[in-house]
Symmetry: C2
Subunit: 340 residues, 2 copies
């Protein structure tokens, strides 16, 4: 009997919130690696907000997942067969294996991992794409200076929690925004933020204002929506707004009702001399080594903390992903696809 | 009889478009300079869009003009009496004398002008604040690279015309947007733009698109409104948008009807990795000497052209200013307050 590969494919393009029927769990034969390729067994699958964009065919910076295609995703995997001399069975690799138990990947697109350097799943979080998003966006675009106030939403997530912790190292006041009292408690008690504000609690804008007595110099934008509305009036002259995500908008099916506030935004850009700049982590690919070295060092020294939300089993990935879009995860969301 | 000083004061704060009754021409005694001060006779008064902002008491980067106070404005003036040893009667100076025939100014806020270096009025235009706005905004924020497309509106104005000409020097395609066929003709025939598009003509968005076959890499934003709407879909990945003015919005009394397009803007910022950054020329004050040297040189060499729209007499300043907000001027708008 051929060995089977369970995988989650995109069944239909979601309109608004993704639902169960937009995904399909199916079984197929484990594929064969071609020349230069590697077959690897998925150990860890990363679930990240950007995947919502890939489910849509609106023009974006990356190609959408096709209907019937395996959902895209970063993975930590163990090499089973290799047609690339740089990899051997048993090697642990980081790649884009997608939502499936086995993946064939190009050897040149894989990075070998040292299992003794750090827990394997951290390569999908604090030491991976989300961590590098925080690091490059905050340092290159945010350019934090001692004494400034840095605000970030989804602050217990892998991006936000690192933004806040790096901000602290740079001598800034770190203000985290998260949903619910447990996450807010973690922000100040685990992650060392100066203040935490619950965006689901009544009076959120006033509480955010109180938490930022000197205004906001850097707002690391990864959510949009109501959080942006509360942040906007607090931005100081010369504030910087790196934009790496807009999770609150991803399920939007139409623009919100009027008035059109675009002129208000531009007026603030002009009079306050704001910088609003979008980025994707790979725009700063040249800094990958610097990131890995510096953040790896901080992690080993215990200077930064991270939190994971582990889901067991590939079959639970769709539900977990839908929860992610609603902020139900608490820390970096990863799926344990196979025991390690 | 005491010598009289005619001056234009702010009579009331305009709601929407300024009207005649928002200004008042009045006469007062010529003031006496105090210690360190200089009394100067205004030769040239600059009229600029930013003045609309000063007529309003909405929070901005500069204090509003008070009701009954002289309208603010840059001037070229001749010193009559001086209590600052650095200035003597007959000296020509650049300062902020305002809309009046005589002004007392702090000596330390004046710059002495060499009447042989360049026509005096150019210190209010191509060699002055508007020119430096174009130079610093385009070079620092726009960062033009050879082969890129630079678009600018109000393109026959003192800012836009220099943006386009510097863009050409940097090897870019310069696309100018202006109102009416005469201005568009001047853009290509006088100023050397590669293309000119009339924002008042039917099919403006389509014509702009046709004029930018490779999209837009830098949009120098000084108008907002319908021009921004046409530019927005044409912005390329990594486009830069220096924002130094929003003249189309200045008379806005309420936000336009919905939907609220802010999420659309942020989505583009993210997926196209746009940079939108506001600035005021004085944010780059440290580059004043470099600007004066380089642009002065270009002007002497005939590498850049400029155009002035001269209004005769202080009493005509309010009408001319109201026309400026409607794009009625053709070139840098200056008022000849006294013969030179």
């Amino acid at each position: 009997m051929t060995q089977q590969n369970r995988r989650v494919v995109l069944a239909s393009r979601p309109v608004g919130e993704p639902k169960d029927s937009d995904f399909r769990l199916e079984s197929a034969a484990v594929p064969e690696p071609g020349p230069g390729q590697v077959l690897a067994r998925t150990l860890w699958l990363s679930l990240d907000p950007y995947m919502r964009g890939r489910m849509s065919d609106a023009k974006s910076y990356a190609k959408p997942v096709g209907i019937g295609e395996v959902m895209t995703g970063g993975t930590v995997a163990e090499v089973e067969r290799s047609n690339d001399p740089k990899f051997a069975p048993g090697d642990l690799v980081l790649g884009m294996g997608g939502w499936q138990e086995y993946a064939v990947m190009e050897g040149k697109e894989l990075r070998k991992l040292d299992p003794n350097a750090a827990p394997l799943s951290t390569h999908l979080g604090v030491l991976g794409m989300p961590g590098m998003t925080a690091y490059t966006g905050l340092l290159n675009i945010g350019q934090p200076k001692p004494g400034e106030t840095v605000a970030v939403a989804a602050a217990t997530g892998p991006v936000g929690s690192l933004v806040g912790q790096i901000a602290k190292m740079k001598g800034c006041r770190a203000v985290g925004i998260a949903g619910g009292p447990d996450k807010c408690r973690a922000l100040t008690q685990e992650f060392g933020f100066d203040a935490a504000v619950d965006h689901r609690a009544p009076g959120f804008p006033e509480k955010l204002k109180a938490a930022c007595p000197n205004g906001i110099d850097i707002y690391f934008e990864n959510v949009g929506g109501a959080v942006w509305d509360a942040v906007f009036p607090l931005l100081n002259d010369f504030a910087r707004v790196p934009v790496c995500g807009l999770i609150a908008n991803y399920n939007m099916t139409e623009l919100p009702p009027g008035p059109d506030r675009t002129p208000q935004l531009f007026r603030a850009v002009l009079t306050k001399r704001l910088t609003i700049r979008g980025f994707i982590v790979w725009d700063f690919a040249a800094q990958a080594r610097e990131f890995a070295t510096e953040v790896g060092q901080w992690l080993r020294e215990g200077r930064i903390k991270y939190r994971e939300d582990v889901v067991e089993g590939l079959e639970n990935a769709p539900q977990a992903f839908m929860g992610l879009l609603k902020g139900r995860n608490f820390g970096k969301l990863v799926v344990r696809v196979a025991g390690t």
